[in-house]
């Protein structure tokens, strides 16, 4: 059974559609990679899944008791964050901001959860450090820990390896893969890197003028994949 289903989704800005009639579904434990060129609407799609944006038409349906609060989010880093004065533990704890009933202050349960997720991301030793002093890879781990505080079932990642060097990129992919395989967290990831997508993902959603949605094996045989990989090697 699918937990997230998109039906006839049309997305766009100010009346101009960029994605038409998109249909796809995500099952528990899936690892979906969304690939496609810049400006094809990948980030818009993710914002729609998060209910940050309304679709022009169509529906996003959450099933199997999944609610908006079960979906965690790793956004692309913003300029504001680059020199933001905040300790790692302040940021990770902010992942608990909407957990449970409305509250103004974090309780001991939130703090324990933040600690647990910092351990999971192996950043406990950075807890007292300032976010802006960390390397790109460490910063992503912090944001991932924050996302895990917010949700345990589904993670939406918007280009999690952007700007990371090759070795750190590989570590990041391994980490995400582990969350998927070991902890059973459903992953939906936007990526530019088709090779990594083919290595780790179970399903592929390709967005451009043609849309493809299917398993990795199906994508491999598809014309789009052949064209796309050929184009990349040029």
């Amino acid at each position: 059974m699918s937990i997230i289903r998109c039906e006839d989704l049309t997305l766009g800005y100010e009346g101009t559609a960029i994605i038409n009639d998109l249909n796809f579904s995500v099952n528990t434990g899936d690892y979906l990679c969304i690939v496609g060129e810049n400006g094809s609407g990948k980030s818009t799609l993710m914002k729609t899944l998060l209910k940050l944006k309304n679709p022009m038409s169509g529906n996003v349906i959450l099933d199997e008791g999944l609610t908006q609060k079960d979906i965690g989010y790793l956004p692309q880093q913003t300029v504001v964050q680059k020199d933001f004065p905040a300790k790692v533990k302040e940021i990770v704890l902010s992942g608990c901001q909407s957990r449970g009933a409305f509250k103004l202050f974090y309780n001991s349960e939130d703090k324990a959860l933040a600690h647990e997720n910092m351990e999971r991301m192996s950043i406990t030793d950075l807890a007292e450090r300032s976010y802006k002093e960390l390397s790109g890879g460490q910063q992503q781990r912090v944001l991932l820990a924050r996302a895990l505080c917010a949700a345990r079932k589904v993670l939406l990642l918007d280009e999690p390896v952007a700007g990371l060097d090759p070795m750190v990129t590989e570590q990041m992919y391994e980490l995400i893969d582990e969350l998927n395989k070991k902890d059973g967290i459903t992953i939906i990831m936007i990526s530019h890197d088709i090779h990594a997508a083919m290595k780790y993902a179970s399903n592929i959603l390709y967005i451009a003028d043609d849309i493809f949605f299917g398993t990795k094996a199906e994508f491999k045989k598809h014309d789009i994949f052949k064209r796309y990989t050929l184009g990349q090697e040029d």
């Binding site: 914002k47 998060l50 209910k51 940050l52 908006q68 609060k69 979906i71 965690g72 989010y73 956004p75 913003t78 300029v79 504001v80 964050q81 933001f84 004065p85 905040a86 300790k87 302040e90 940021i91 902010s94 992942g95 901001q97 909407s98 103004l104 202050f105 974090y106 300032s130 802006k132 002093e133 924050r146 996302a147 917010a150 949700a151 939406l156």
Partner: protein
Amino acid sequence: MIEKLAFYFQYPFVRYALIVGVLIALCSSLLGVTLVLKRFSFIGDGLSHVAFGAIAVASIMNLTNQMVLVLPTTVICAVVLLHTGQNAKIKGDAMIAVVSVGALAIGYLLMNIFSTSSNLSGDVCSTLFGSTSILTLTVSEVWVCVILSAVIVALFILFYNKIFAVTFDENFASAVGTNAKFYNLMIAVMIAVIIVLAMNLVGSLLISALVIFPALSAMRMFKSFSSVTICSAVISVICAAVGIIISILASTPVGSTIVAVNIVMFVISCIVNTIRGE
């Protein structure tokens, strides 16, 4: 010098000025951290010009209590400016510039056409650069300031975690179900209130200094959001108190003296930061 100070502090208006000055400095510095980090530093400037325009209109209409007009106008502009910040056709900074110079020009124009005052340029100058009005506060004005400041500080403490979340990452906050729009609105209204209060103290051209300098100085010296916020408040309160005392002793204008003290503090914090960094 101490005797001179003691002499001045016998007068209630000097004590009022100090109380009001310190409270305004406290409030503006708390929100200053958020504004600077959200890249909205100039919003204080824009809003204060709006308040100037509103005061011009209020004085033409011969309103005895100008607050009735000035406060709502400024609040509305704050909401519009912060709300359109991200996805308006005219981008945030340009929008602020448009509103700010627009209000300034229209305000001055109206004052010139309709004014009954014999000393127009004096009136305008004191509205822009702060005046002796902080030394002519009535008891009720002091109470209004105390109550509004208390409300702002209380709201800031209560919603501290939400303000942090919305400042650091608005998208993430709304994605996990925090009502980011509401908190942005709350921040906007709080800023508008502070600006209107601060008009009396430093005048409309110098308000952004109260908002920006303490936050920037604190960011040079501290690294976590909580310590930056506390440090910013402490710096701002000290600078305001020192500034007011200097201006009394040396008979300098209150507003620009406070700003000058803030600038000195900023330079000191930069030096401290450089020394520690090496």
